[in-house]
Symmetry: C2
Subunit: 260 residues, 2 copies
């Protein structure tokens, strides 16, 4: 299958512009699954919870409408981050396909002031069994906790999609380890640009990437420009957890010896 990471440079608060730009970018690309950044439609640097609330949507809101129309028309899947509004606000990601919404994830490990705006995720780490393969979702800072990708891989994920808004430099190389230790493909879609609001400035590092099960970086974008990178991947590779005659990556775990 063909997975694409879409590296965007959104305008803060301009949902319509950001969704339209993302769709315009994806229009020209052939892929079975597109991965967009965390909060790709709103931007990241909220000054208060009221602002985050104002930019939130239900799972069937404006952004979902356009993404599901796109996915139906192109017969593809799209994973994208947005502010989900229920009685609470979540930093969420939806996986939408030709037949509508296929999956939802609510970010479990909230970073820094996100804790002021969002409730921590309460849906666990989900894996969705699609015709194109078994897709798991985590968001940005989840990478820091090895339990995130591990949970997804143990639940059968062959590809982990990873919408992100990265400001620190560590994640792109760490995702190589996440792929190797779990023998899964990973697709991190990050954004670029700087948001300076309320005296707080964030610069996002881009470096969106697609990593193979053996840690090979199949695609990695730059740190400044928006863009798209596509990789052809065979998800069956992620089902081979056997390293040699004596080692299986998952059967070889020794939970009785761990202190977790």
């Amino acid at each position: 299958m063909r997975v694409a990471v879409v590296q965007t440079d959104p305008v803060f608060g301009e949902i319509e512009t950001n969704v339209r730009d993302a769709i315009s970018t994806m229009e020209g690309v052939e892929a079975d699954l597109f991965v967009l950044p965390e909060l790709f439609n709103t931007g990241y640097n909220f000054v208060d919870v009221q602002e985050a609330d104002r930019l939130s949507e239900s799972t069937s809101g404006y952004t979902f409408d356009l993404m599901s129309t796109f996915a139906r028309r192109k017969s593809c899947y799209v994973a994208y981050g947005f502010i989900e509004k229920t009685v609470r606000l979540y930093n969420s990601a939806t996986l939408v396909g030709p037949y509508g919404m296929m999956g939802l994830y609510r970010k479990i490990h909230l970073y820094n002031k996100e804790n002021l705006f969002f409730s921590p995720g309460d849906l666990g780490f989900p894996v969705f069994n699609l015709p194109i393969g078994r897709i798991g979702i985590m968001i940005c800072f989840d990478w820091t906790f090895p339990e995130s990708a591990r949970s997804l891989a143990l639940k059968g994920a062959q590809l982990i999609v990873h919408p992100s808004n990265l400001v620190l430099p560590y994640c792109p190389d760490a995702m190589i380890t996440r792929s190797i230790e779990n023998r899964v493909f990973t697709a991190t879609a990050d954004r670029v640009g700087t948001e300076n609001r309320g005296g707080v400035s964030f610069t996002f590092i881009g470096n969106s990437e697609i990593v193979a099960t053996n840690g090979t970086v199949l695609q990695r974008l730059g740190s400044k420009e928006s863009g798209v990178a596509v990789a052809y991947i065979d998800l069956q590779e992620a089902s081979k957890k056997r390293l040699n005659q004596y080692n299986d990556l998952f059967e070889g775990r020794r939970p009785d010896q761990y202190s977790l």
Copy 2:
């Protein structure tokens, strides 16, 4: 404290030579803790279990005698890998100090044909509370399983010593992730050289390294030559699990949301 990784090029089966050479190398180096490779005194490429048995020792055998004498004389600690013989054989590492044996670890994740020679470790991942700091031990292939370093860090390890015999290229960079995700120092002591025995050849990659809690590679040796690298490290850095006002690396774990 000063930690040293000692990268050796042992002669297969020549325990006396290998121990003498290691001590000779360490003599000229000022350090509080020396880390030697996995199976540093025997070599790695056993043709059968009888050979491994012939090269095994009790925890108070020849190698321990010389290492504990060295540690007493130099008022330092040494972690080294050897074949431990009880009623079984283990791929073990001993931590010896000025007052004798301080700790023992038996490799939990055995790699490939090691499964023919050794019994899997049964002591968990141990952390030893020494005057120089809290030291955890894991051996070589344990790095592949994030649960290894995680278990040690959650038990309070500030520095993970990691005797290794690496043949694949992935570990040195992955140990950067291990340091970052746990905010611990790591010291991987690997060997160099090639062992061709019984028609099976292994070439070891060296690249012994010391990594700081933020992932900075403080020292990394080359892939061909034996040698020693020393780093001054402040183990208190590893006790700071707080990343910012809202995130603590360990308190922020969400075991109720994991599937492990």
